[in-house]
Symmetry: C2
Subunit: 357 residues, 2 copies
């Protein structure tokens, strides 16, 4: 899992078996199978894993004993050997839902932060990048989308973005954890405003279950705005799930799926792409963008179309600048534009090679 | 300096006065002027600054007392409220040169790391992104570059990349700190190999001084591969410096200058762009790319051309894939390609607005 020059760019696989629960205190993080193999061969591995803090508190070293601001320190077996820390002004919320630990805090330099099971989901400062890209990469690639499904996305940010598209008539959202929605409404109103759109229908429950019951060919676009594939979202990177997505899409419909980091997770991305190449008969692409508070500072998107009218993702047929009122709806677009849309599909050479793209 | 939703995207100015030295232990970090103003108005500011560790050691919390791996924890007044940490396998080198503290360590997941005055300059895992982009963005934008000047770049990585261009006859490099070169030759041979190219002429000394003595119109391209604008590199963001660069370039010559982070430093970038718009009569652009171990996970490039034959940076006239032997020279390109070149100029909407681009 840990890279260096001799091992290329250090691809780290994160898909693990289900219920392989290496519970660490208050956290439900699962150790992926590749980490398990490393553990079997490395007598010091247990100690290394246990000595890392997964979503924990610690104080900075006491250079000024009378003042010790606290940091939230984010590390995880999915990105070993590194961590990002954010200075905490105040903890605003910290509770365990039925599914995960939900944490909200005011940071010094990224605004309010939402973390689930010790992993940053969004910050006020940089959420615009993720929310705008995951919504508009698919929706600006097809003409007049009508029915859109969001899986996950309980913070409401993606709903806010989908709302810019006046052609959309129905926005179904299936979120498993009501606490995420409630917390967002309380602490992140600029994302939760997405729930105010009258076209939104909220379904509380399991995404895979919802999809199995969805009518065939119902949706123009499905957006999978999930957390990382451990815990509640681990089913959302497996073949049956992608097959039910493809079934629920119209011909020439599009999927946009959160797809990890090209610096850290190319094995996982490769697996997802392989499954999607067999499942989505239109096209399969990978795109990426900058999100400073995600591990390695980037996030990727798996973007696919079903068989039917061809979809040219690289040259958006439905540019947001030409949709009346779209750029300014609710709040002006901060990140996405048609140039950034096209640019997102340009991959570094090592990524093209590793993903055979 | 510290952002949040109410303050837009949290631009942080980093240009400070010279010799404003708030020395913190073994570190020569200078507090930029904006931080000084904040300090004057915030009685707790001193405590906050002093309580952060600038390039320091600390051990992770002792969840496993018998095993406490160490982390190198990087934070800095130039990016307040956050830090990136890398797990350390072994310290390989740690000495103070005439100019700065030079640190090399073996990290667990990013290979070997070079830090100067507590700021990561490069890691083996992701150096490809920075070195390849800063070299090929300018060199692939002009036909048959002959004379190239590198300011800074003592690790040799940019030289390695320039060497791919067979049209180049002369590569002048002016580096102020010999220790950086020696350390790179010892610990980063895959970058220092750049010094082996017979076209390279090394000049040890001050970059601004070197430029003042350079013949007018000598260079096709000048690449400023500097550290951040505090310490030895602080002169390298000021007007006289850009004026001497423009003077040393041929008509239709190009500058490519390291230019910070679009998430953190738009004020500094604005200042640089304003100066360059008055100094470079051809064109002025800003580009960016992903480098996980730089603050906020991105680095930007200021790219300018002098008056003369027009340079179209967005459509490289000298694509690397068409230069015989270039992609494979010494080691295969890992990051840069013509698609990524064009994509680098696509800016998020907030950046376009803040930089008036």
């Amino acid at each position: 899992m840990e890279g260096g020059e001799g091992r290329g760019l250090g691809c780290q696989k994160t898909m693990g078996g289900k219920n392989d629960d290496a519970t660490n205190g208050s956290n439900k993080a699962v150790i992926p199978s590749c980490c398990l193999k490393a553990r079997a061969s490395d007598p010091e591995y247990e100690a290394k894993c246990h000595s890392t803090v997964v979503s924990g508190w610690f104080s900075e070293p006491q250079t000024c004993p009378e003042k010790t601001p606290k940091l939230m320190y984010f590390n995880n077996p999915m990105w070993p050997g590194e961590a990002h820390s954010l200075r905490v002004e105040k903890i605003l919320f910290k509770e365990r839902s039925e599914f995960q630990e939900v944490l909200v805090f005011q940071s010094s330099s990224y605004g309010k932060v939402l973390a689930l099971d010790g992993i940053v989901q969004l910050t006020e400062k940089d959420e615009c990048a993720y929310q705008e890209m995951i919504a508009h990469l698919p929706l600006c690639s097809i003409k007049l989308p009508q029915n859109v499904l969001v899986l996950g996305g309980g913070d409401g940010g993606v709903l806010r973005e989908i709302s810019r598209h006046t052609s959309v008539e129905l926005i179904d959202i299936c979120e498993i954890d009501k606490m995420v929605i409630d917390v967002s409404k309380k602490f992140f109103p600029q994302l939760a405003v997405g729930f105010d759109d009258p076209r939104v229908r909220l379904h509380l429950g399991d995404a895979a279950e919802f999809l199995r019951k969805a009518p065939e060919g119902k949706y123009d676009a499905i957006i999978v705005d999930s957390s990382d594939p451990v815990g509640p979202a681990q089913e959302l990177v497996e073949r049956p799930f992608f097959e039910t997505i493809a079934r629920a899409l119209k011909p020439g419909g599009v999927l946009c799926n959160m797809a990890e980091s090209m610096w850290l997770h190319t094995h996982l991305i490769q697996d997802m792409i392989s499954i999607c190449r067999e499942t989505f008969k239109g096209s399969v692409h990978y795109a990426w963008t900058s999100v400073p508070t995600y591990p390695s500072g980037v996030i990727g998107f798996l973007i696919c179309s079903t068989e039917g009218p061809p979809v040219d993702f690289l040259h958006p047929i439905n540019p947001i600048e030409k949709l009346e009122g779209a750029v300014q709806h609710q709040r002006e677009l901060k990140f996405y534009n048609s140039e950034i849309h096209k640019a997102a599909f340009a991959l570094p050479s090592f990524v093209k090679r590793e993903l055979s793209l």
